[in-house]
């Protein structure tokens, strides 16, 4: 019994023949696919030519990864707290976000869609994974899944129900297919009973999923 594997604790009783080894989970990044090879080749050529440096590439990735849904939450909290800002956010979303210090994408246009007691908005990109990355960072994996993209345009209420959000029939569901140059942000309804909360506390109620429209903010302690 030299193989330590035979001695470790399994959750369930499961014996293996001597010498058996569990198949290993492959590393996620071990496949040098064509697009990966192409990216590496182009990046290294551009660095060699002095177009940019490796350090600039790294800093760019770090900067992108630093964008999180908390940015969107702060924008929403400001809109809840400041009616004038909310007006500007709905009329000129990009400019409004820039006024809070966010650097927005210049090739696309941000659209803010407001939830009301009568209307619920939900965002999907059926063609790929368009998402307001400049504000929210990278989209979640489920947002890019074929099932979410296919089903959200087809049966949005069933999808929302699976996310735990069941909407009554008198609330209109508006699906937005982010299929071209708009990037959408949902402005959720401010939960009741939050009048005493500070802007920072309000921002804490706004999760990523609320900004995509598959959830709504809840007052702490409520359900």
């Amino acid at each position: 019994m030299s193989d330590h594997h035979d001695h470790h604790d399994h959750d369930q009783d499961h014996a293996h023949p001597p010498g058996y080894r569990h198949p290993l989970q492959p590393d996620a990044d071990d496949t040098l696919t064509y697009p990966r090879r192409l990216e590496i080749a182009v990046r290294e050529l551009l660095i060699e030519k002095g177009i940019f440096t490796a350090e600039e590439v790294r800093a760019g990735i770090e900067e992108m990864d630093g964008r999180t849904p908390e940015n969107g939450a702060r924008v929403v909290a400001r809109a809840w707290a400041d009616p004038e800002f909310k007006q500007e956010l709905l009329a000129n979303p990009g400019r409004a976000c820039e006024s809070l210090g966010y650097v927005m994408d210049t090739t696309t246009q941000l659209a803010v869609v407001e939830n009301t007691p009568q209307v619920h908005n939900v965002i999907v990109c059926t063609l790929c994974s368009c998402y307001p990355r400049a504000l929210l960072g990278m989209p979640p994996t489920w947002y890019k899944s074929l099932a979410y993209r296919r089903r959200t345009v087809r049966e949005p209420r069933a999808v929302l129900k699976e996310f735990g959000l069941e909407l009554p029939d008198d609330v209109t569901v508006r699906v937005h297919d982010s299929n071209a140059d708009l990037r959408y942000l949902v402005l959720p309804l401010r939960p009741e009973g939050t009048t005493d909360m500070t802007e920072a506390e309000l921002a804490g109620l706004v999760t990523r999923d609320c900004l995509v429209g598959v959830a709504v903010p809840r007052k702490p302690g409520s359900k």
Partner: protein, 108 residues
């Protein structure tokens, strides 16, 4: 308002909010942003978004072409999916370029 709008001073968008439009029912090759599920369907212009580079050219590295007017067009879900089970008023907004739209005047 948008930096993406470019030389919008000389151009006028053909459609205004509230206009009834029909999406062309064309099976075109290439990098097409018009989803199949709305082709041939009638909807309402929700807003004119701005002028953007044509993705059908952009996808092949051609940046020189004229910018195209883009609209957000609203469709009734029950019209897109005849077996849609939700309420009649549920909608779906899709971004459509002007060259994929025509006036919808027929009573269809």
């Amino acid at each position: 308002m948008s930096r993406a709008q470019g030389a919008s001073a000389v151009k006028q968008p053909a459609y205004s909010p509230g206009d009834r439009v029909r999406v062309l029912k064309v099976d075109a090759p290439g990098h097409i942003r018009t989803p199949y599920y709305v082709r041939g369907l009638e909807g309402e212009v929700e807003r004119f978004v701005g002028y953007f580079r044509n993705p059908e050219e952009l996808a092949y590295g051609r940046y020189q072409g004229e910018k195209r007017a883009l609209y957000r067009v609203r469709f009734l879900q029950t019209q897109i999916w005849p077996d849609y089970t939700g309420p009649r008023q549920d909608t779906l907004d899709v971004e459509i370029y002007e060259h994929w739209l025509e006036n919808a005047r027929s009573g269809a």
